[in-house]
């Protein structure tokens, strides 16, 4: 039982506030399964020496020596302990080779042919006595790693899931992502757009500002996605907050759209675009998907912004204020509030604030 207690300290956190822990480190083995048409390639990467000794113990046959080269001699053991299934039926794996890698590692390559019309794949192995990651991919489409413990079987992976979503489904997905990035999730973007709208209710000034903003954020969104420009969140976030404060403060002092306002709005659009790019960066998209995603996501963002302006217009129209009343009762209090919020965020988002 001492062994259990060895882990006690870490496990104690488990008792805290009902959080649970496991105090075992992870295996050094990794499995990578690639699907190309009907061909499946399984790559098992592990520490060479322990693997060789494990195979010897599992085979019950001692060769009198254990090294990377002897792994080839136990290829049958590897195959016996590897289980690839297509729709629940075991698929015969064929040994290819064991390649020594740097740092005392070895990579074993196995292959299999899937039956026609295979819908799903599973993997299991009794070669690892610990937790190890299994990654499945087809071309550039890679699923997140699934961690298996020992002989655990992966959840069945539908081969459809390894195909990049195409057609309307993909367009809709990225459009929705762009739209929801504004409504309802982008509260600071909403305030920025409202700030632009408040200055002047007429269509032309609103369109000029929104167009400048759209062009700017589209440029940096694209450049960020392709990795051309990159700024840390600690820089982008305060800048976005500052942009919100600026447009709102300017609303308090003027009611006409000056040329510099459009230029500044363009400038402020640049960090907003880098902020948008963060949402796409998390998707871990293949490069071939970049352009389509960029366009559909951006259209979604614009749709979100236009919806904000439409709602704001409807509210303002419903109020039926004269220009003076509008400025006094809507523009000034709302801009003051937006400015306060923008300044507050600017300060609290500075890296040294926390």
């Amino acid at each position: 039982m001492t062994s259990v207690r060895r882990c006690f300290a870490a496990l104690l956190v488990a008792a805290a506030f009902t959080t649970a822990l496991n105090a075992h480190p992870q295996s050094t083995t990794e499995v990578n399964i690639g699907v190309e048409g009907r061909r499946v390639e399984v790559l098992i990467t592990a520490d060479a020496d322990p693997l060789a000794r494990k195979l010897e113990a599992l085979s019950n046959v001692s060769l009198g020596r254990v090294s990377v080269t002897t792994i080839e001699d136990w290829s049958d053991v590897v195959l016996d302990h590897s289980d690839l299934r297509a729709d629940g039926r075991r698929v015969p794996l064929v040994w290819q080779r064991a390649t020594p890698l740097e740092g005392g590692r070895v990579m074993i390559r196995l292959e299999a042919q899937l039956p026609a019309d295979t819908a799903s794949l599973t993997w299991a192995s009794s070669l690892v006595f610990g937790a190890y990651p299994v990654v499945m991919h087809r071309g550039e489409v890679k699923l997140p790693a699934e961690w298996l413990q020992g002989t655990q079987v992966t959840t069945p992976v539908a081969l459809d899931a390894l195909v990049p979503p195409g057609g309307f489904r993909a367009i809709w997905r990225y459009f929705a992502l762009g739209f929801t990035h504004i409504l309802p999730n982008g509260f600071d973007h909403i305030l920025f757009v409202v700030g632009l709208f408040l200055l002047n209710r007429q269509a032309k000034p609103v369109l000029m500002q929104v167009s400048a903003f759209t062009i700017a954020h589209s440029i940096t969104l694209g450049l960020s996605l392709y990795g051309v420009v990159r700024l840390p969140a600690s820089v982008i976030e305060p800048l976005i907050a500052l942009s919100i404060a600026y447009v709102a403060v300017e609303n308090l002092f003027t009611s006409t759209v000056k040329p510099w306002r459009v230029v500044l709005v363009f400038g402020f659009g640049l960090p907003h675009g880098m902020g948008f790019a963060e949402a796409l960066a998390r998707l871990d998209l293949p490069r071939s998907e970049f352009l389509r995603t960029l366009i559909t996501f951006n259209v979604g963002v614009e749709a979100g912004q236009l919806t904000v302006i439409a709602v704001a217009t409807a509210v303002v129209m419903a109020l039926r204020f004269s220009p003076e009343q509008y400025r006094l009762r809507v523009v000034r209090p709302a801009s003051a509030a937006i400015a306060a919020m923008g300044l507050f965020w600017t300060v609290t988002r500075l890296p040294w604030f926390s």
């Binding site: 001492t2 062994s3 259990v4 207690r5 060895r6 300290a9 870490a10 496990l11 104690l12 956190v13 488990a14 008792a15 506030f17 009902t18 959080t19 649970a20 822990l21 496991n22 105090a23 075992h24 480190p25 992870q26 295996s27 050094t28 083995t29 520490d47 693997l51 000794r53 494990k54 019950n60 006595f129 937790a131 990651p133 961690w147 413990q149 002989t151 655990q152 999730n185 509260f187 600071d188 973007h189 969140a233 600690s234 982008i236 976030e237 976005i240 902020g275 998390r282 006094l328 009762r329 000034r332 209090p333 709302a334 509030a337 306060a340 919020m341 507050f344 965020w345 988002r349 926390s354």
Partner: protein, 415 residues
């Protein structure tokens, strides 16, 4: 008048907006989460409430855990910066890891928490939870860094002292660990702090008090939280075993197994009791399902011991070899491997090398015991004595440490 109304309106709106802004926290450009639970600008009272909500023991059966994991994962797929979902997912995954032994689930939890913290570096709950995840991954220094950072932000949150103490404990900094546990118990006397006080007492060799506190911890655990109940009773079983009370120990392990069937700690404890009673067949029967399914190195080592006692030397040897490689590469735990090798008289030179390497990383009493015992079995008695002094520094009455210490002392004093 109109101007006054307008100014009042501006002031009121600004105040309301500032309150709202506080709640909203950071940019949605890089974070699209529901933003009401950001810790950096909240009071400790608010935080503790959030913590309770976030840690609600909703998922305690295997099915419930799986459902929680699926639900939270779906929420995170829609919004990777959803802090609450990430913390709830992490908690469920950590629990799942405890009952399945799948340490890889911690990596999954870490990915989710890292995504939240990348978008919202000030997210207190995610930071606090990440310390817990690091502990489970044996990244004790990272855990300590996060937990201390979390403590600096919320000095009244007992959780952080638990994590800080745990990390110090694993690194062998016992005074710091015990101080953190005391602070935790002062702030929040509950099952978690009782369990830690219990372990602190056990490390100091006071098994009776340790048992009393662990019993209090078990009683303070909600019966709805079956997994936690099982965990606490398994610890009681361990303490009874250390006290030499086999019947009481067996009862506690049985209770753990009843609370959460097939809990790994309950099974392992029952096997140890069976071995102590020389019931080797019984031990093997208990281990059989685990050996057939997903054996841990400990399972294989214990099964090897049972086979060896029954005279099945070939089977024992095979299991020992598998346990060795498993501790080396599948569940890498150098100190345990070194102790295993030294205990069974295997690869003694390697045992010393492995134990020395482990002791360079951490100097807790179990690692120092592994080093002492490895030196001793390799014939380096002076080194063994020196290492054993460190292993005994807390006054622990751990049976293995005491057995090793007795053997080393006896040899050292032999003329």
């Amino acid at each position: 008048m109109t101007r006054r109304v307008s100014r009042l309106g501006i002031a009121a709106t600004t105040a309301a907006v500032l309150v709202f802004a506080t709640a909203c926290g950071r940019s949605s450009a890089v974070r699209k989460a529901p933003t009401s639970s950001r810790g950096a600008t909240r009071s400790p009272a608010a935080i503790s409430k959030i913590a309770l909500v976030a840690a609600e023991p909703a998922a305690t059966s295997r099915d419930q855990l799986s459902r929680t994991i699926e639900t939270m994962q779906a929420r995170l797929s829609a919004n990777p910066a959803d802090s609450r979902a990430a913390v709830a997912l992490s908690e469920a995954l950590m629990r799942q890891a405890r009952v399945t032994g799948n340490a890889g689930l911690a990596s999954r939890a870490l990915v989710a928490l890292d995504a939240v913290l990348a978008a919202t570096p000030n997210d207190y709950l995610a930071l606090r939870e990440r310390a817990t995840v690091y502990l489970s991954m044996h990244r004790f220094r990272d855990a300590l860094r996060d937990a201390e950072q979390a403590r600096d932000r919320q000095p009244n949150d007992a959780w952080n002292y638990g994590a800080i103490g745990d990390a110090h404990l694993e690194l062998g900094d016992y005074d710091d660990a015990f101080a953190a546990f005391d602070q935790m118990a002062r702030l929040k006397p509950n099952a978690a702090s009782y369990a830690r006080v219990s372990y602190a007492r056990e490390l100091r060799g006071d098994l009776d008090t340790a048992l009393r506190y662990m019993t209090m911890a078990a009683e303070a655990t909600s019966p709805q939280d079956a997994e936690s109940v099982a965990w606490h009773y398994a610890q009681i079983g361990h303490l009874q075993l250390q006290r030499g009370r086999l019947a009481e120990s067996a009862r506690a392990y049985a209770r753990a197994d009843h609370a959460f069937p097939r809990h790994p700690l309950a099974i392992e404890g029952q096997v140890r009791v069976a071995l102590r009673r020389a019931d080797y067949q019984g031990a093997l029967a208990l281990l059989a399902p685990r050996l057939a399914e997903s054996p841990t190195p400990t399972d294989m080592a214990l099964a090897g011991d049972a086979h060896l006692a029954l005279g099945h030397t070939d089977q024992a040897e095979r299991l020992y070899r598998l346990a060795e490689v498993a501790w080396e590469s599948d569940t890498p735990e150098p100190a345990r491997l070194a102790r295993f090798l030294a205990d069974r008289g295997r690869r003694l030179g390697d045992a010393v090398r492995i134990a020395e390497s482990a002791a360079r990383e951490r100097r807790d009493i179990f690692t120092m015991d592994a080093l002492a015992w490895s030196y001793f079995t390799a014939g380096r008695v002076a080194d063994a004595r020196q290492a054993m002094t460190e292993a005994l520094r807390t006054g622990s009455r751990d049976l293995d440490i005491r057995r090793h210490a007795t053997a080393i002392n006896a040899t050292a004093h032999r003329p």
